[in-house]
C-alpha cells in the first residue's frame, strides 16, 4: 500500500471514513423499514406464470430490461474482442499508428497427470449436459440462461487448460459469433409475436395472464410448457409461456459472448 503513505494518504483515509460512516448511518435507518412496493404485487401474481418467480421477473415482468442486460454482455464481449484486435478500423485517407499485435497465450500442459487428461473430455461433456439441464429447467427451479452460458464456457475454459491448443471443444470464430448473434437476435425477435398480436412488445403470449392475446397463440407458445402447480388453494395450471424459449436464447447469447471473450484472450485475434 505504498500509494496511501504520506499526508495525501491520511487525508484520503479520513475522507473515506467520513463518507463510509455517513453511508452506514443512513443504512441503519433503512434496516427494517424497506417498503415492499411492487415486489409484493409481483409475488402475488407468481402462481399465474412460472413457479420460479425470479425467472418470471427476469423474463416476463421485466423482460425488456433483461434484453438490454443481455445486450450488455454482448457489448462487453464485442468490445473486449475489439480491444484485442477484432474489427479495428482506420481512416483510409489517413492511416494512423498500427494496432498492437495480439498474441495467443502459451500453454504448458506437460505437467498435467494422465488421469486429468483422460477425464478432461468426459468432464467437459458432463458440464455441457449440466448447462443444458439448467437452461431447460429454469422456469421451475433456480438458474437460467446466464448460468447455462457460464457453465458451458467454463467447460470450454477447462478443456483449454487440459488440452492446450489441441482443444476438444473447438468453438470456432464463426460458431461463437453466430451463436451469440442468434441468441441476442432471437431474444429480440421473440418480442415480435406479442407485438404483432397485442401491440405490446414481448408480451408473454404463452402465459397470457391478462387475457388479451388470441387463444391460438396461447396454444402455440403456452401448451408445450404447461405445468400443474399443487398449492394449498388448489391446483393451478400455470404456463411460463415463452420464458423457456427466451431462456435458451439468453443462454446462446451468453455462450457466444463469454466464449468470444475467452477465445480472444486465449488465442488472440488474427484475420484470415
Amino acid at each position: 500500500m505504498n500509494e496511501l503513505r504520506g499526508k495525501r494518504g491520511i487525508l484520503a483515509v479520513i475522507a473515506l471514513l467520513i463518507i463510509g460512516i455517513g453511508f452506514l448511518s443512513s443504512l441503519f435507518e433503512l434496516a427494517g423499514n424497506v417498503r415492499p412496493g411492487v415486489s409484493q404485487i409481483y409475488n402475488s401474481l407468481a402462481h399465474l406464470v412460472a413457479p420460479n418467480n425470479i425467472a418470471t421477473w427476469v423474463y416476463d415482468w421485466r423482460g425488456y430490461d433483461t434484453l438490454l442486460e443481455t445486450a450488455v454482455i454482448y457489448v462487453g464481449a464485442v468490445v473486449s474482442a475489439m480491444v484485442i484486435g477484432r474489427g479495428v478500423v482506420q481512416m483510409k485517407s489517413c492511416p494512423q499508428e498500427p494496432p498492437a499485435q495480439s498474441k495467443p497465450l502459451e500453454f504448458h500442459i506437460e505437467t498435467l497427470t494422465v488421469i486429468l487428461k483422460y477425464l478432461g473430455l468426459p468432464a467437459a461433456i458432463l458440464l455441457f449436459s449440466y448447462g443444458i439441464m439448467v437452461v431447460t429447467a429454469s422456469s421451475t427451479s433456480g438458474g437460467g440462461g446466464f448460468q447455462c452460458g457460464v457453465i458451458m464456457t467454463a467447460a470450454y475454459l477447462l478443456a483449454a487448460i487440459f488440452y492446450g491448443k489441441n482443444n476438444p471443444i473447438r468453438f470456432g470464430k464463426r460458431f461463437i459469433i453466430g451463436i451469440g448473434a442468434a441468441g441476442l437476435g432471437g431474444y429480440t425477435l421473440l418480442g415480435l409475436p406479442g407485438f404483432l398480436t397485442t401491440g405490446f412488445w414481448q408480451y408473454n403470449i404463452g402465459a397470457d395472464v391478462w387475457g388479451i392475446a388470441p387463444s391460438i397463440m396461447r396454444f402455440i407458445f403456452g401448451e408445450p410448457f404447461r405445468l400443474s402447480l399443487v398449492l394449498k388453494e388448489g391446483v393451478f395450471f400455470s404456463s411460463p409461456g415463452i420464458i423457456p424459449l427466451i431462456n435458451v436464447a439468453e443462454a446462446f447469447n451468453v455462450i457466444g459472448a463469454i466464449g468470444l471473450i475467452y477465445f480472444a484472450f486465449i488465442y488472440g485475434w488474427q484475420e484470415e
Binding site: 500500500m1 505504498n2 500509494e3 496511501l4 494518504g9 484520503a12 483515509v13 473515506l16 463518507i19 463510509g20 453511508f23 452506514l24 443504512l27 441503519f28 433503512l30 434496516a31 427494517g32 424497506v34 415492499p36 412496493g37 415486489s39 409484493q40 409481483y42 409475488n43 402475488s44 407468481a46 413457479p51 418467480n53 425470479i54 421477473w57 427476469v58 421485466r62 430490461d65 433483461t66 442486460e69 443481455t70 450488455v72 454482455i73 457489448v75 462487453g76 464481449a77 468490445v79 473486449s80 474482442a81 480491444v83 484485442i84 498492437a100 498474441k103 427451479s141 433456480g142 446466464f146 402447480l229 398449492l231 394449498k232 388453494e233 459472448a257 463469454i258 471473450i261 480472444a264 484472450f265
Partner: protein
C-alpha cells in the same frame, strides 16, 4: 438501542465492501489491483441489493408444492431487488472483461501495469 438484524449485518458488510472497493479503485496504482477492487465494489452492491430484498423469516421466491399463495405473497423475498443482482453480475462481468482486455493491450505497449506510468498524459 439498535436492533441487530440479519438485514443490518448485510448492510454493514455491503458498506464495508463498497468503501474498500472505492478506496482500492481510486488509490491503488496497479491496474490489475484496481480491477480486483472493482469486483469487490460490484459484490458490495450485490450484497446491498440482496439485503434490501431480505424479509425476516422469508422464503426464496420459488413456489414449492403445498405453499399457500397468500403466505407466499407476504413471506417471499422481495423479487425486484434480488433480481437486479443478476443484472449487476452481468454488468460486472462485461466491465471486468473490457478492463482486463485494455490492461493486456496497454501492458504489451508499455511493459508495465502501473497506472501512473501507463495513463500519463501525452503532449498532443
Amino acid at each position: 438501542m439498535i436492533e441487530v438484524t440479519i438485514q443490518l449485518l448485510g448492510f454493514i458488510a455491503a458498506a464495508l465492501l463498497l468503501i474498500i472497493g472505492i478506496a482500492g479503485m481510486v488509490f491503488l496504482d496497479n491496474i490489475i489491483k484496481k480491477i480486483i477492487a472493482f469486483t469487490l465494489l460490484s459484490d458490495g452492491v450485490n450484497i446491498l441489493l440482496v439485503a434490501i430484498g431480505y424479509i425476516e423469516g422469508g422464503v426464496v421466491p420459488i413456489l414449492l408444492p403445498g405453499m399457500s399463495t397468500v403466505e407466499f405473497t407476504t413471506h417471499a423475498a422481495l423479487v425486484f431487488p434480488v433480481g437486479i443482482v443478476l443484472t449487476n453480475i452481468v454488468i460486472g462481468v462485461s466491465t471486468t472483461a473490457i478492463l482486463v482486455a485494455l490492461a493486456i493491450m496497454l501492458y504489451r505497449r508499455y511493459g508495465t501495469l502501473k497506472a501512473s506510468v501507463v495513463l500519463k498524459g501525452e503532449r498532443r
